[in-house]
Amino acid sequence: MSRVLVGVKRVIDYAVKIRVKPDHSGVVTDGVKHSMNPFCEIAVEEAVKLKEKKLIKEVVAVSCGPTQVTETIRTALAMGCDRGIHVEVSGKDYEAMGPLQISKIFAALAKKEEASLIILGKQAIDDDCNQTGQMTAALLDWPQGTFASEVTIDGEKVKVVREIDGGLETIKISMPAVLTADLRLNTPRYATLPNIMKAKKKKIANMKPADLGVDMVSRVEVLRVDEPPTRLAGVKVETVDDLVAKLRANGTI
């Protein structure tokens, strides 16, 4: 039976009002409420469900970042993961960290842990990259089932119903494979206090990217971060002719 790796990312909580730093180098994160990326919650839930159905043997929760990400791993453990891996990345490396570095880490871990499945959230709500799953599959040369809204394991194959523009697509891929979770895949359970207490007995291993042979050098540099432009008030017109005239004056038509 198989082992599943689940990626969980610590992001600014979805309900927080984001503020841009005065120097426009990024967003304010100090003292701001963080939590597990909602799509990662769905990924964890799916992995735990597969384990409860006895289709897989072990679920390992993985997160990359500074010490604080262990809170996110603990939440995953409280939801039912068996153990955690904390890949320590901090400082400049953490700020520059993106899908490329994460996917290299996951590819290395998948080989080390002999995983049959990697389940990730389809994207993170902070960077909205939607790249990590795809890159990880490419690095491992594994098939991918992205935007999964339904996952069924059938022997050595996985049937994935994908949410795509204009409808649903059903594919069958062989394991090992990478899946990314979409919103309607499942309803994540809440990590209650008793579950968090029980999960304290579970182990979280600690390692560095170098231990996995991964270099964290980023090829992307953030130049500037700005708030979206404030929406201007609309203009009301009396007649259709006025509308046409305004559109002409505006250069729209």
Binding site: P38, L183, T192, P194
Partner: protein, 106 residues
């Protein structure tokens, strides 16, 4: 919190003691859940405390059991509330609203 827990104990009665730890755990669980309450953790913890204090003189174990069950129900309600809020926020941000949904039909 000790006030609250003491109040749930019937002096000299053995029956209430296992309930005492249940009441304590319920309070802790609700307090933990309240951290994410939309109107703020402080708002929640104030109301949680007054709700428990309101029943501090209840001695009948059957009554206490009923109140604890009600507390468990509130936990389920809060979990559902949090899930729906998050789901709707994600749906709004990442998925195009279909016309029928916008018009609240179908």
């Amino acid at each position: 919190m000790n006030q609250v827990v003491k109040a749930a104990t019937v002096s000299g009665s053995d029956m209430a003691n296992p309930l005492r730890s249940e009441v304590r755990q319920l309070y802790k669980n609700l307090l933990f859940l309240g951290r994410e309450y939309p109107k703020g953790a402080d708002y929640f913890s104030e109301r949680l405390k007054s709700a428990f204090m309101k029943n501090k003189d209840v001695t009948d174990p059957k009554e206490i059991r009923k109140l604890v069950d009600r507390g468990e129900f509130v936990i389920k309600e809060l979990e559902a509330l949090y899930y729906l809020r998050k789901y709707r926020a994600m749906k709004k941000r990442y998925y195009e609203e279909e016309l029928s949904t916008m018009l609240n039909i179908g």
